[in-house]
Subunit: 423 residues, 2 copies
């Protein structure tokens, strides 16, 4: 019995991956106009099918409630009119962005007369692995279609009715378009075993993109042999240098910590130069406490009041994603940089300082996707950077680092024109 | 006993990986001048220590002979004066290439006044896994030093004396330089178990680069969780279109197949349009046979003479790397493209044709790192492309595709300058 189930699972995975691969070679030849027309059709179909989508979503919501899912998870799972309208609007916005595919990045001629150019091409088939939010289904599909990639989606079992309904609606739209309907594939089998098989499907998938919590991402990174675009974890710091403007420093620290604590570019530790601390640490602590932030501090910070909890080694490594912060007083900018390079996750790091020299040192020596001088870490985001779309924020160093726009979903091809050259 | 050995192995791996990681953060801050000065010192030291290096190399050669190693493998293993001189010269050439690190790729300003730039930075620690050739030890180390990366080398046990001697000489040179001596680390433990541990050393290594045969590369790809730069396998085709100039087509096919059959950009299959074949196939077959090429042909090709062996399904998938070729007559350019996308390894593919339309179709639809019109596939090479250095030829789509020059050993960092911006 269990063996039969496994065979069925494999079949679905291989069949759908195979269909996506076949669709990918057709998709690579689609024009920008054809792709944008398809995105418009998906947008329209989402609006037309709102009732159906909400009805299917309500099955997932009911099952989630029965299973005791938390309010915040239920909220993430929910598809309502405003959210469906937002999805439809995002699809239209995507049609307005430049198509990276076909872009000529470089052209040169060799002494032997060969004319070489580097041209952007789609990656092929993108494997997307994500958690409860059903909007990722539409988001990932539309970004892939825009860049000429096929996508194999593996969402959460808790959102399976919503995801199936959304993909059905996308397929209805693709039927009316020039793009292959098979461009978007959803795995209905959400078992761990099939996910594990998907991680190693190198013959079909060109890249895996996990979207979700740190645990999901690490599971993919540690088990995949398909190349992974690693996104996510952000243990970000704000370092307040000796010469920092007090008001600016406190504004930036408060914004980075409290404006939206649950996201990866929020600040988790604040490092303060001792000379700045001598005068301004009480104001910083007061401002944090006023925002309801629980403070884990070193000995110097604990002197600010009994409500400061002693910081532990674990705190320096913790991504609280909540109204909590670890605070450390340092003797030098070098000590701050060493601390950040030891405990940071190479996501977003900020220095507040009036010294250009220290800012340049911080830029050079801190190893992170985004390094800031006198600005909040909260700006690490594809939209804030002006990319118009975001695949995620890469915390790895290969292929793409930091906020990823549409070009992160492309590769390149060398096109070489000759007139009979041989070696 | 066996447990003790494993602990020792792990210790060497972790210790050396840790030293490389510490060196990497120093290396990232070295100037182009400091790095070039170190490369000059390594070059000089290699020349000064020729006697020592050849003496150590002779131990590997003797062990290889005793073990019955083939003449061609012994030749790859050998370090003699001309080869050591070539290595020293290559190091000097490397100093003359532009340093990609620090290059500003893009700069823009956001409406809120944030000034963002994308700056090239080193990857960090490169793990290099390679086979018998000891020159890779110097080649990989010098490319990494030039790009500010530390390197952890894992060569073959058959070259261990040569590799240890080369790394000792590199260390002697680094002692005299500003660069950390620990920038180059060689694993003396060449066991499979330790290699398997190295494949999963995500906390220390930023990338793994396998250099060697298809089997080695696939072992790394299938087992590594550290991101891999996949290089190598090339099942390349030359397609001779209906309108191809006969002389040019035969020249290109002969060059791609026979100029150096053992390399990845050599041609393994020739596809011929039936209308071209009707008149010119006998000339092509004769030219190949004159060069001593064994021909595996389909029914149409077999009619050219009894020396043509019937082609099998396996042949289409085979990278002969020898004076053998599979030949197929096709009815259309589409059939050729479909065949290439089915059996090719996405390395280098060529069309010979007088039709710009068919060339453009081939460029668009063939999925490969390098696509050629009227030129030999043998040009897929970092030096032929004018990069001045080559890390390898990537056959994957993430990060780098095709011949990889120095920039393939770099990542990027977003540097953001503000004046107090908060979100």
């Amino acid at each position: 019995m269990s063996e039969t189930i496994e065979v069925v699972q494999s079949n679905e995975l291989i069949q759908k991956a195979g269909r996506a691969k076949a669709a990918a070679s057709e998709l690579a030849n689609m024009t920008t106009q054809q792709k944008n027309a398809a995105l418009h059709l998906v947008s329209t179909e989402l609006l037309l099918e709102q009732e159906f989508l909400m009805a299917q979503n309500s099955k997932d919501l009911a099952a989630g409630k029965d299973a005791g899912m938390s309010e915040s998870l239920l909220d993430r799972l929910k598809l309502d009119m405003p959210r469906l309208n937002d999805m439809a609007a995002a699809l239209i916005q995507l049609t307005e962005l430049p198509d990276p595919v076909g872009e000529v990045l470089e052209e040169w001629e060799r002494p032997n007369g060969l004319a070489i150019s580097t041209v952007r091409v789609p990656l092929g088939v993108v494997g997307m692995i994500y958690e409860a939010r059903p909007n990722v289904t539409v988001d990932a599909s539309s970004l892939c279609l825009k860049t000429g990639n096929a996508v194999l989606l593996r969402g959460s079992s808790t959102a399976i009715h919503s995801n199936k309904a959304l993909v059905q609606v996308i397929h209805q739209a693709l039927e009316k378009s020039d793009l292959p309907v098979d461009s978007v594939q959803l795995l209905e089998d959400t078992s761990r075993e099939t996910a594990a098989e998907m991680f190693k499907l190198n013959d079909y998938l060109d890249v895996l993109i996990p979207r979700g919590g740190a645990k999901l991402i690490q599971t993919v990174v540690k088990n995949a042999t398909v190349p992974v675009l690693e996104t996510g974890a952000g243990n970000c710091h704000v370092y307040i240098d000796e010469s920092a403007d007090p008001e600016m420093a406190i504004d930036i620290a408060i914004n980075a910590k409290t404006q939206r604590p649950s996201v990866c570019n929020a600040c988790e530790s604040i490092l303060v130069h001792e000379n700045w601390a001598a005068e301004h640490l009480p104001d910083l602590i007061a401002a944090l406490q006023e925002k309801g932030v629980r403070i884990h501090g070193d000995a110097a910070v604990q002197q600010q009041g009994s409500s400061v909890v002693p910081v532990t080694e674990d705190d320096w490594e913790t991504e609280y994603l909540d109204l909590e912060v670890a605070v450390k007083v340092v003797e030098t900018a070098d000590e701050a940089i060493t601390h950040i390079n030891r405990y940071g996750t190479k996501h977003s790091e900020a220095i507040v300082s009036s010294s250009t020299e220290n800012a340049d040192k911080f830029f050079l020596e801190v190893d992170a996707a985004a390094v800031y001088h006198n600005a909040s870490t909260r700006f690490t985001d594809g939209f804030e950077f002006g990319f118009g779309a975001e695949i995620g924020i890469s915390t790895q160093k290969l292929h793409a680092r930091g906020p990823m726009g549409l070009p992160a979903l492309t590769s390149t091809k060398y096109v070489i024109r000759g007139n009979g050259q041989v070696k």
